[in-house]
């Protein structure tokens, strides 16, 4: 499904992602866990096309999307829930949801999002900027799902979110994967969340993936040690 092959990404002359490769299969939830400043957000920004590649290749369903602009990648089936949510603060919840949806907007799909996140239905006319962090996160996931993605990228979805909502998000991600047979790539610093949702786990350090574990065989203690400063 998503194939990342030897990619290099950086800011100016400073390299951040150094020759990273990984694959995420259909219906799989892949986690990338790492400390702050290890390159998680840079990786996700380059996957969606906000940052250009300095080398390597990204393919989606066998199609090379490395040179595509973000909106073209979305059209081909990639969607992102970025770090910090980045919802549109002056658009209503409903407008946020349909902002990237194909026209004519399917009200069935909107209802599907509302049933996943009932709070969004209650607040559909409220401005996105006036929601709490947890509500904004649900909105950001709903907005991404409205683009009918094949692969959903989530960059630190639990950042700044209260624990009860984090559990909801974990449950919903698994539900969405099962419903849509969706591929999900998620980055986090919180290992417990990753152990809950991911089928496969990578550890990122200094812009490279240094460890890969299946959830069934993961050694949580070792990974915790790697994540501690």
């Amino acid at each position: 499904m998503l194939n990342v092959n030897e990619i290099h990404v950086g800011y100016g002359q400073s390299p951040v992602i150094r020759g990273m490769s990984f694959k995420a299969g259909k219906g799989e939830i892949v986690g990338i866990v790492g400390r702050n400043g290890m390159g998680k957000t840079t990786l996700f920004r380059s996957l969606i096309g906000m940052l250009p590649l300095k080398g390597g290749q990204i393919t989606l369903d066998g199609v090379d999307i490395s040179e595509d602009e973000s909106f073209n990648r979305v059209g081909k089936g990639l969607a992102i829930v970025p770090q910090g949510r980045m919802i549109f603060p002056y658009l209503s919840v409903y407008e946020n949801l349909i902002s990237g949806a194909r026209t004519p907007v399917s009200q069935e799909e909107v209802s599907e999002i509302y049933s996943l996140f009932p709070i969004l239905r209650e607040m559909k006319n409220r401005k996105g900027g006036n929601l709490s962090g947890g509500q904004q996160q649900q909105l950001a996931i709903g907005r991404a799902l409205m683009t009918r993605p094949k692969v959903l990228l989530l960059d630190e979805p639990t950042e700044g979110i209260q624990p009860s909502i984090i559990k909801d998000i974990a449950r919903t991600l698994k539900e969405i994967r099962d419903m849509r047979n969706l591929t999900i790539v998620v980055s986090e610093q919180v290992l417990s969340f990753m152990l809950d949702v991911c089928d496969r786990l990578f550890v990122i350090e200094k812009g490279a993936l240094v460890r890969e574990d299946l959830r069934s065989a993961v050694n949580a203690e070792e990974i915790r040690k790697m994540l501690s400063v």
Partner: protein, 305 residues
Amino acid sequence: MNLHELWSIFVMQGFAGISLFSVLLLMGLGLALIFGQMGVINMAHGEFMALGAYTTYFCSTLVQDHAPRLLPFYFPLAIVLAFVLSAALGAFVEWAMIRHLYKRPLDTLLASWGLSLIMQQTYRSIFGAREVTPTLPEWLMGSFKPTDAIDIPINGVFVLALALAVTGGLVIFMFRTPFGLRLRATVQNRAMSNAVGINTKLVDRLAFSIGCGIAGIAGAAFTTIGSTGPDSGSRYIVDAFLVVVFGGAANLLGSVASAFGIAQAQSILEFFLDGTKGKVATLLFIVVILMFRPQGLFPSKVRSS
């Protein structure tokens, strides 16, 4: 002065204010899209209005020379043509110049000022240095007299109706169409808009183009109340920016309220003082308000993150 005369003066003066409001509104609407929404300082905006005015003059001359019987009907078509030509030129200018200068406001200002000089000289070369006036259809001339003492010019009513129609159209376009939604999203967060699947470059081009098209409509409307010269655009540009900045740059309805406030203040002050003093007092009033509310009258508010 009896009560009847006082009432007539009140009605006429009120209409003068509303008339000025419609002129300011038409001037500001296109810029509300280009500067208010996109943040592009387009110093050539007035020249797009002049393009609309010259298009109307050209249509009028063409009809008068070749099909005088169509004279009563050409004006609405001239307005449509003014919109189409200004919008097409706007799309070309965005592609050729503006898109290379996003996030460089000073460069945009200088480049668009240069463009305004080129456009002025082009008008001078084609239409001459003298001001021109199209032949207006009969139905746009004369005045409406509800009583002997009240005299309301029909061209003023026409400009008002057109301003309200364009405003309504723009509000529907911005708040009830998928493109309007994409434009509002792009204005708020360009990178994220792209990342939710919006082609932001196309949005930029269409928004700039429609803003220029509205300027063209304004220019066509202004031929009913004044003549057009190569540098007519520069007369409009200050008022257009004033309306948008005073209303709150990113707020479309703020521009409407701003145009109304400025027009009424100016009209009332001109009645009690004189034309120049009235304008000076209005400008002073705006300067003082902007000192205390630099974000304009109607800034958008959301919870701070």
